[in-house]
């Protein structure tokens, strides 16, 4: 582990946020740094510690990274900088960029986001031009009728032999019994506030904006959630849109949503690692480098722990 330096940092409004900065020790870091953060309630190390493994891989290839907890999750204290989770998550991401900019002199970022983090990363990239690349795993999906039918048929055919089928069937019945409270979300928690069509409109508008700004985007979908994919199926009707053609899309059949197997982790790390390294080591275009960030860096003190 001598090829990298790891430094725990507290930063953001009131030093409420906590993260781990990993930088290459033997050479100058790439001109673009990588950001990683929580997936769901997992803390900054990510599901199965995948963020740490990715940080080590990136550092070995010359890319620095900051993995951190959004406000209120993991080791970070809750922020009171915005009225809703989405706004506060954007503030957390901007604070992370401010920190790396101040400590490392790096002003461009590639962000790796998983699951619920995808929306946060897209929202931050939409308002802050410092984000130049997004790797998005198992985020928004809009499968159309043919894809949904194929998924249903494949599931139905596999069900009799599926070891989890009895348990899943029992839970499904319990959820659908009249008056059942099983599976009902608690008020205010885990509630998807937007219907799917609204999500699709938001995704399309935001993605169009990012592509216009030349933000590189990698879209990854796991085999455990989506089972099958023939031609960018998870993008639904959007897959034919001209602005979507430049995005990298990969369906990862052998990778599951929480990267539970070593094989799945290797595939994830290879795909994301190669893509992030490519976009972090490539010097940004002068046009991009000169473009001022819309989010103005704020003077927030960073606290470095003694190494």
């Amino acid at each position: 582990m001598n090829d990298m330096t790891q430094t725990p940092v507290c930063f953001g409004p009131g030093n409420a946020l906590m993260g781990m900065l990993t930088v290459p020790a033997q050479r100058a870091a790439a001109p673009v740094a990588c950001l990683m953060f929580n997936m769901g309630a997992n803390h900054r190390v990510g599901p199965r510690r995948i963020n740490v493994k990715l940080a080590h891989l990136l550092a070995a290839r010359g890319v620095g990274s900051l993995r951190f907890d959004l406000g209120g999750i993991g080791d970070s204290e809750a922020l009171d900088t915005g009225p809703d989770l989405q706004t506060r998550a954007v503030h957390s991401l901007q604070a992370a960029m401010d920190l790396v900019q101040r400590m490392q002199g790096i002003g461009q970022f590639a962000t790796v986001a998983m699951c619920s983090g995808v929306e946060h990363a897209m929202s931050a990239a939409a308002v802050d031009a410092r984000m130049v690349a997004l790797s998005l795993f198992d985020g928004f999906a809009f499968p159309q009728r043919r894809t949904r039918w194929e998924l249903t048929v494949r599931r139905a055919l596999a069900a009799p032999l599926h070891p989890s089928f009895p348990g899943k069937a029992r839970r499904w019945v319990l959820r659908h019994l009249p008056g059942s409270t099983v599976g009902k979300p608690l008020p205010g928690y885990f509630v998807d506030r937007r219907p799917p069509n609204v999500n699709a409109i938001w995704f399309e508008a935001t993605m169009k904006r990012l592509v216009e700004r030349e933000v590189a985007v990698q879209l990854l979908y796991s085999g455990s959630l989506h089972v099958c994919d023939r031609d960018r199926d998870q993008l639904g009707a959007l897959r034919r849109e001209p602005f979507m053609q430049g995005l990298q899309y990969e369906f990862m059949r052998d990778v599951d949503h929480t990267v539970c197997t070593v094989k799945g982790q290797q595939l994830f790390l290879q795909s994301v690692g190669d893509w992030v390294v490519e976009h972090c080591l490539a010097t940004g275009s002068p046009q991009r480098q000169d473009r001022p960030a819309t989010g103005t860096p704020r003077a927030i003190p960073a606290t470095l722990a003694a190494p």
């Binding site: 582990m1 997992n42 190390v45 993991g74 080791d75 085999g223 539970c260 197997t261």
Partner: protein, 273 residues
């Protein structure tokens, strides 16, 4: 601001990450606590629990250090380097770090699962001097633990994939006692596999140097029997029962407790029992 000081400590070649929660100055107690986390997915699952416990203890005047073993959590290192002897040394390094921050306090170790096992091994080694051990569901049967991890790994794959890879389940049925090379996203090094194979209740004697409280579920007869055997050797150990809804190996999901209040209260109270 964060209610703790993040730090790296240990030898330069084997730094580990820790979070020191300073005691509330108004309620300074002559006790400090070192939290020893479980292994692998169990450690990730309980991160929030131990963070909240550390904050509570600090507010009660008890300085607390939590840390990640080398090659786990936020610490440097690769999982393939993980093994009990190195982790035992990490635990002693954490003890020394806590001693540096709380020089006059009696240090209590709270270990959970494999972290509790490591606490027993490190305390027996005699290189550090905990005043007391609190062992929460210690792993005393290595092969049984490895089998549990393997079963949970297969269940996780079955659950997550609509069309699972049945070779995992077949392998478990064919060789039920084989030590796994991976479990729930974590590689088990050959050294760790061998150490788990050799870990039995008989290989884990307590010493008379430390008062020990063992917390186990009421239906865990193996741990109760192990504690009884230690008592019969006149070791200062006591067994207490602790039931809780925490699923050690699952992912966090709705309706699955992350910080069960009963367990939190019980562990906080255990410091002074």
């Amino acid at each position: 601001m964060t209610l703790f000081t993040p730090l790296m400590f240990g030898p330069a070649s084997r730094q580990v990450f820790g979070a020191f929660h300073a005691a509330d100055e108004d309620r300074g107690e002559p006790t400090a606590v070192l939290l020893c986390p479980p292994f692998g997915q169990e450690g990730l699952r309980t991160h929030r629990f131990f963070k909240v416990l550390a904050e509570r203890l600090a507010r009660a005047g008890i300085a607390t250090l939590r840390f990640d073993f080398y090659g786990s959590g936020d610490s440097p290192g690769d999982e393939s380097e993980g093994e009990l002897d190195g982790w035992r040394r990490d635990l002693c390094a954490a003890h020394e770090e806590l001693r540096r921050h709380a020089p006059h306090a009696a240090i209590v170790w709270i270990g959970a699962r494999l972290g509790a096992t490591l606490a027993v091994l490190a305390a027996r080694n005699g290189r550090c001097d905990p005043a007391r051990l609190v062992l929460w569901e210690p792993v005393i049967d290595g092969p049984g633990y490895a089998r549990l991890l393997r079963e949970r790994h297969v269940e996780a794959i079955d659950t997550t994939f609509c069309i699972p890879d049945l070779s995992w389940r077949r392998s478990l049925a064919r060789e039920p006692d084989a030590l796994p090379e991976e479990a729930l996203g974590v590689r088990l090094s050959p050294a760790l596999q061998a150490q788990l194979r050799a870990l039995t209740p008989q290989s884990l004697p307590l010493t008379a140097l430390h008062d020990t409280l063992v917390l186990a579920p009421p239906d865990d007869t193996s741990t109760a029997q192990w504690a009884a055997e230690q008592q019969s050797r006149h070791m200062p150990v006591r067994l207490a029962y602790l039931s809780h809804p925490l699923d050690w190996t699952s992912d966090p999901f709705p309706h699955s407790a992350m910080v069960p209040a009963d367990a939190l209260n019980r562990l906080q109270g255990a410091i002074h029992e």
